[in-house]
């Protein structure tokens, strides 16, 4: 399981604490490594701090820095250029261009696990 390089982390960006922590619990219970951020700004800091993020799960409607601005900023500074970004949102507006996938809320456990399994190995 843990031969060679360890599995990459999932960065969950979600302002709603219950949902964020529940996603963390679910993913960790299924063997994924998780870091979390409460908004786009915190997510940028997390990307700068953690060098082994393999997937960003991004909410769109957040205070301080929303998902659209986060994607724009990430592309501008060229952070994590190969890290897939999966948007999970119920925002009626268009998701930012250049994201890898959009998961319409409400997300359930099966769909969450399926999409994370696609991009990141369980550690």
């Amino acid at each position: 399981m843990t031969q060679g390089t360890p599995a990459k982390k999932v960065l969950i960006v979600e302002d709603e604490e219950d949902l964020r922590e529940m996603m963390r619990d679910v993913l960790e219970a299924h063997g994924f490594r998780v870091v979390t951020a409460t908004d786009g700004q915190a997510a940028l800091e997390a990307l700068a701090r953690e060098d082994d993020v393999g997937l960003v799960l991004l909410d769109l409607l957040m205070p301080r820095m929303d998902g659209w601005d986060f994607v724009k900023r990430v592309r501008e500074i060229g952070a994590a250029p190969h890290t897939p970004i999966v948007v999970h949102s119920s925002a009626p507006a268009e998701p930012p261009p250049s994201v890898t996938r959009v998961l319409r809320k409400p997300i359930d456990t099966d769909r969450l696990l399926a999409v994370v399994d696609e991009f990141v190995k369980r550690g």
Partner: protein
């Protein structure tokens, strides 16, 4: 005996009075005339003739109440105006007046008491202006202001509804998602404890049901308030979409017999919305059909359109003709309001499905007879269909 200079003064004064009378008589934009102390017309000018439609011959000697609407005369308005002018020297009023031909005009009226050197009342001067145009402009402006206010109110309401949708869509769904995940996680950790797992299943199905109700309220609000669904059409193979829907319903209803008939059928539609439509129709067919009988989904491609029939065998009597159209109405459901986990929702599913079909330029119709019940969805293939 007058002196010569007195005679000259008198002539000059007479001449001035004549010229002044000429001036007054020739004024066309104002009705200027005199009333006797009792209110009878004693002089008339061109303006008055033009404004009120009477010639001097017709009106001189008549009481000025002929210029007033009957209700004003009955209310003794004319008397009060003369009393006011007598008491204060001047009386001003704006109101409706009547022309000879019976039409109304909006007038500004000034009545001035005229007194001789001894202070004795010898009559009244009356100046009348036609302000109908100004009045109409004012009314138009008022109507415009009211219209603007109504539009602003409508915009405010629209904004409120959109915010309401935002709250439903985002703020209510997130806690439900957390709940749903928590239940799934607990169930996994619980292992083989069947009685507790049942409790968790109930919790999960409640959360899902609530989630579906929120979806329906959202969709209903979109159709009713915000001006319909926004379609995001893209290339879709309807056969593949139906297969996925049938699989999903099959997983949720393992004992159901579901058949899909049809081949690859390409078009340009909103994939998510069509999934919603067929998921609703196929689930309904399973839940309301006779137990143990098959549900058949038949895809019929035509040149510029496709139709999909979702057919089941009736569990009881066919849906009566009289209520076949009504099943698509919001706020009703064909059967008793049982709220089991499988028939979750608010009963707006068919209404929403038909709205989605219509937003695609298509429709859904229902046929129900002894042979069973069929919902037929007809969708035009958008331009560029088949080239995808």
């Amino acid at each position: 005996m007058r002196t010569a200079s007195e005679e000259n003064e008198r002539r000059a004064a007479e001449e001035e009075a004549r010229r002044f009378r000429l001036l007054v008589e020739s004024v066309r934009d104002y009705g200027i005339f005199m009333l006797t102390p009792t209110g009878h017309v004693s002089t008339w000018n061109q303006g008055a003739a033009r404004l009120k439609g009477y010639t001097a011959n017709e009106i001189i000697g008549r009481h000025f109440s002929v210029f007033y609407p009957a209700e004003d005369v009955a209310a003794q308005k004319t008397e009060r105006e003369l009393e006011g002018a007598t008491r204060d020297g001047r009386f001003e009023d704006e109101g409706w007046r009547i022309r000879k031909d019976g039409t109304r005009f909006w007038a500004n009226v000034v009545i001035t008491a005229l007194r001789n050197a001894d202070g004795e009342l010898i009559g009244f001067g009356k100046v009348t202006r036609d302000l109908t145009e100004r009045k109409q402009t004012e009314e138009r402006l008022r109507a415009l202001a009211a219209e603007t206010a109504a539009l602003a109110e409508k915009a405010r309401l629209q904004e409120f509804h959109e915010r309401f949708i935002g709250i439903l869509g985002h703020d209510l769904r997130n806690p439900l998602a957390a709940l749903d995940m928590g239940v799934a996680l607990l169930k996994r950790q619980l292992g083989a404890d069947a009685s507790r797992a049942r409790v968790l299943d109930r919790m999960a199905s409640s959360a899902r049901r609530m989630s579906r109700m929120i979806e329906q309220i959202l969709d209903l609000t979109r159709t009713r308030v915000v001006g319909g669904f926004e379609m995001v059409p893209g290339p879709v193979d309807l056969r593949a979409l139906l297969a996925a829907v049938v699989d999903e319903v099959q997983i949720a209803n393992p004992t159901a017999a579901l058949h899909l008939i049809g081949t690859e059928t390409l078009g340009k539609w909103d994939r998510d919305r069509l999934e919603q439509v067929f998921s609703n129709l196929v689930s309904n067919a399973v839940h309301y059909g006779a137990a143990g009988t098959p549900v058949t989904v038949t895809l019929r491609p035509e040149r510029d359109a496709v139709s999909v029939d979702v057919h089941n065998h009736n569990a009881g009597a066919p849906i009566p003709d009289a209520i076949q159209a009504a099943v698509f109405d919001a706020y009703r459901r064909g059967t008793r309001d049982s709220r089991s986990a499988t028939t979750a929702g608010l009963g707006h599913g068919l209404h929403i499905s038909r709205e989605i079909a219509r937003a695609h330029g298509g429709d859904i119709v229902l046929h129900s007879n002894a042979g069973g019940t069929t919902f037929s969805v007809r969708l035009p293939r958008a331009a560029g269909a088949g080239s995808a």
